[in-house]
Amino acid sequence: MLAGLCGGLGAVFGSRCQVLRTEPLPPRAFHAGRQQYSSTEILAGLAARVIPDSSRLVAVTSSDLFVPVLTFVFGEAQLEGRCAVVSTCRLRQEFYGLPADAKLESARLLKETVHELGHTFHLAHCENYECVMAPSHAVEWIDLKSSTFCEACRPRVPS
């Protein structure tokens, strides 16, 4: 799945993408009461790990993520920063009691990753529901949009 994501990101951003080795999530990011990981805590640890000569670093996890005021988040990005984190937990059909669909999950992961990276380029949510920067507060919203930027957002992403 990560290899597919890499290819998709390369196509959208027109740059090379590489998969690093798997690492455990920082234990301090785990909230026992909520049984979720704090995306903000994960992001805090990522900044120092961006490898030289690379533009962005994205962490992908199968664990469920949250920020303190919200029940969950699909992902989080450092606004004007270089890192983002995305969870596949709620992108899987099984989470909603439906049969697994690997292709759909991959498509959702690509859209959510491009979306979070868009935030690192100062992009806010877009009103065009087909744009990858459209808000996606539920998984159905992710399925509605494409994995690419609309004409208004595209010029603001360096290629």
């Binding site: 903000t40 303190p68 919200l70 029940t71 969950f72 606004l79 949510h125 507060h137 539920a138």
Partner: protein, 450 residues
């Protein structure tokens, strides 16, 4: 989507403020945060917010009390209460105190986005509703500049020329010539037509009241200022402000007005915070501003700023060919409102109307038709339905003052000397009528009559 709205997040927990402000920032909103009641009220003093998300449980002043104080400052502010301890009691208390909604932490992202979006749409609809009601009340039905005479064609052409531009317009003309209608026509044909047009009758307000009316005031700025009030320039945001009787404003207000026209920034009375305002200004006067400048009563720099494009509305006596058309418009309007089937005006009556000098211009003609409609027998307005004093002044003297004197005395005579009724017919206040009668030596005239 009503994004770019200004949100204020009030919560004593840093982590909540940070994560909520980041989340709303990504949503495209302008976000400010406050760690408590004091901080929130200070932020509100500095800028205007559309919506506040307020935590109920905070040390010191709690959210319910803060909401009450916020509404004292800005009654239009939408407040959504947040709590980590959901209970029916607190929800009811918050909603009773005027909160728009109530949400429990942690929020479902979709629900939160939906609640905020709905709240802002609600606010937008409320604003539009208020503006539409104000516009309808001010217009009181479809009225427009009427006329086919060469003089009025020139005016209508000027309106069409200047309307799509952003130029400031000065409308000059005697009382009753339709200066406000002209301003409305400019606004209606401009790109600002879907935004409000705010009308200020400068002559009707004292200097202090005018200042507060134009620029607004902060809560406590003066005795009686119980709430923050937006001024006319803020109310006209995106639209047009019409300053009628501009020749009547004091030199102090002229200075303030000049600054607003130059900078497009106002400062509410009692505040030091400038607010950017987007408006187009149209001013009107029945006075000779040139003479007022000579007398040192009007600032020349303000005059030049206002007089970018001037439209002169001709008095009715200079466009008598429009009288039949105007009478027709008024007859149709009053027939509908009075539920009377008056379908024509007799040739003799029309001849009389065209001959009359109309010192009170179109407004006087409208009043005369209205009075005649009350007494007229269906289906025709006849000469005797009008009580015009044609012997009047026109031939004896052509000065405006004489015409005004004759008209006032004639109306007063019709009203059996009752000044209150006469003032209503003349559409001026009673004090103005009293002063004019004193000036004309009314008592002496009465004595001659009796």
């Amino acid at each position: 989507m009503p994004n770019k709205a200004n949100l204020l997040i009030v919560d004593d927990e840093l982590i909540v403020r940070d994560s909520l402000s980041k989340w709303f920032h990504e949503e495209g909103y302008d976000v400010a945060v406050a760690e408590g009641a004091q901080d929130a009220l200070q932020k509100m003093a500095q800028r205007q917010f559309d919506l506040a998300l307020v935590d109920i449980k905070m040390p010191g002043t709690d959210g319910v009390e803060l909401q009450r104080r916020m509404h004292e400052i800005d009654p239009d502010l939408l407040v959504i209460m947040m709590t980590g301890y959901a209970s029916v009691e607190t929800a009811v208390a918050a909603l009773k105190n005027g909160a728009y909604d109530y949400v429990s932490k942690p929020f479902d992202p979709e629900e939160m986005a939906h609640t905020v979006r709905n709240a802002l749409s609600h606010r937008q609809a409320q604003r539009e509703n208020t503006q539409l009601r104000q516009t309808l009340a001010a217009v009181g039905g479809p009225r427009e500049l009427t006329g086919q005479s060469p003089e009025m064609m020139r005016v209508l052409e000027a309106v069409q020329t200047v309307a799509p531009t952003e130029a400031t317009v000065l409308i000059a003309g005697e009382s009753g010539t339709g200066k406000e209608l002209c301003a409305r026509a400019i606004h209606a044909a401009s790109n600002r037509r879907f935004n409000p047009m705010v009308v200020i009758h400068c002559g009707a307000l004292t200097e202090t009241l005018l200042e507060s009316e134009l620029f607004g005031h902060e809560k406590g700025a003066f005795t009686g200022a119980q709430y923050r009030k937006k001024g006319s320039f803020e109310m006209a945001q995106g639209g047009t402000i019409f300053l009628d009787e501009i020749g009547d404003i004091s030199l102090k207000t002229q200075t303030d007005l000049l600054r607003v026209l130059q900078e497009h920034e106002i400062t509410r009375v009692g505040s030091t915070q400038p607010i950017h305002v987007d408006f187009r200004c149209i001013a009107a006067t029945n006075k000779d501003l040139g003479s007022l400048i000579q007398e040192g009563k009007f600032r020349p720099d303000l005059y030049y700023r206002l007089n970018v494009f001037q439209i002169r509305l001709p008095p009715l006596r200079e466009r008598k060919s429009d009288i039949p058309l105007l009478v027709d418009v008024f007859v149709r309007r009053f027939s509908a409102s009075m539920n009377k089937r008056i379908t024509r005006v007799s040739p003799e009556a029309m001849e009389q109307l065209v001959a009359y000098p109309w010192p009170g211009n179109v407004r006087e003609l409208e009043n005369a038709v209205e009075r005649a409609m009350v007494v007229a027998q269906e289906p025709e307005l006849r000469e005797q339905d009008f009580s015009l004093k044609l012997a009047a002044p026109a031939e004896a003297s052509r000065t405006l003052e004489d015409a005004e004197r004759a008209h006032i005395l004639s109306v007063l005579d019709e009203c059996d000397g009752n000044q209150t009724r006469a003032a209503a017919v003349l559409d001026i206040d009673r004090v103005t009528l009293h002063n004019k009668l004193k000036k004309y030596g009314w008592k002496k005239v009465t004595a001659e009559v009796t």
